[in-house]
Assembly symmetry: C2
Homo-oligomer: 213 residues x 2
């Protein structure tokens, strides 16, 4: 695995992966950096630079082999492996993620859903029973879990994070808006849904301003 | 309004806005770029560069005035205005956004929720009635809507986008996974929830690899 890849490049990898996947779905087996740049709204030189980070799978005058590049990025993103996941918080966002990610059929394997609301404990979503969050510790002691998805209110999250980390879960996908502190060997991705809404209102504002000029 | 601000800087603005907001909540009225850098995991020079794009509100030896900076970024992000919004698709993710954004009480004002499922048309979420999506065109002709949130399956989205654009809606927050083409004067933000999950699995993979070295 190469090192020192900038986080900006890493952030773009899922986009490459999605685009290459849709090319494959459409039977397109090779593509130039120029064509890829048009689709992705990046410059061709940016794309060449990005992909060079991973060994450079392009060939002068031929372009990129889509399947090869897709497979490599898949590996780099760790998507050639499977991950046991749990969701903590079975509200709307937890359910939406469960539905959506199950549907994608990548290597994400939901093994448990937890909530503290007695009204929904015992019900099933997509064939997975909602368990009492009080049983989380025992669950984690008996099952291997790679990623915990936090879709509960931030003010409830702190003791849960402790339980998760103590039991050796190494990945946290955090929708809870709690700035979580964890040991160095635990990886966290924080999701703030409204950040992209703010980017939208920024662009709308800029747009209005440019019309007035 | 300054021009030519890189999209990387713009993407970071919501984060600055969130951090500054939490500083204000905690009664912190000024902060050095160094302290801000520790909290935000960016270098101090990066922060100074970023904020210089907007006129530079820092002062040598004093740091940033948190309230002033927060207010300026708020304006830059267009959050000093109000936006009439509709949600199209009242499933889990639509409901989650409605709940969450309403709760935030920024200038986002939901004026309508639409779905095509007869079982839920007529029901209310957070006091907003779910309307038949077939009435969308008529609704948009009588109400001013700034932003449409697309939380419906991508394969249903195309005719809806046409209706929205024809009726002069200028902002689309797209969760539908449909690569939408719209006129130049319409702004789109596409959200791919699993991109950040892929970033997480990337980091987990990198982590595993570094342990083995």
């Amino acid at each position: 695995m190469e090192k020192n890849i900038s986080s900006a490049v890493i952030k773009r990898l899922p986009r490459y992966y999605r685009y290459l996947g849709s090319l494959l779905d459409n039977g397109i087996t090779r593509i130039s950096s120029k064509d890829l740049s048009k689709r992705m709204h990046l410059t061709a030189s940016q794309i060449r630079q990005d992909l060079n980070n991973f060994g450079g799978f392009g060939q002068q005058g031929y372009g990129y082999n889509v399947e090869l590049l897709y497979g490599e990025i898949r590996k780099i993103l760790g998507l050639d492996k499977t991950y046991n996941m749990i969701i903590i918080g079975a509200g709307n966002i937890g359910q939406a993620l469960l539905n959506y990610i199950n549907y994608q059929k990548r290597g994400y394997n939901f093994v448990g859903v937890f909530d503290k609301n007695p009204k929904i404990i015992g019900l099933s979503i997509r064939g997975i029973e909602i368990r009492d969050v009080d049983t989380l510790d025992a669950f984690l002691k008996s099952e291997k879990v790679d990623i915990a998805v936090l879709t509960l209110p931030g003010n409830n999250a702190e003791p849960i994070v402790e339980t998760i980390v103590e039991n050796g879960v190494k990945g946290i996908w955090n929708f809870s808006h709690l700035p979580i502190k964890t040991p160095e060997d635990v990886v966290i991705e924080n999701v703030h849904l409204t950040d992209s809404l703010m980017t939208l209102t920024y662009k709308l504002t800029e747009h209005e301003a440019s019309k007035k000029e």
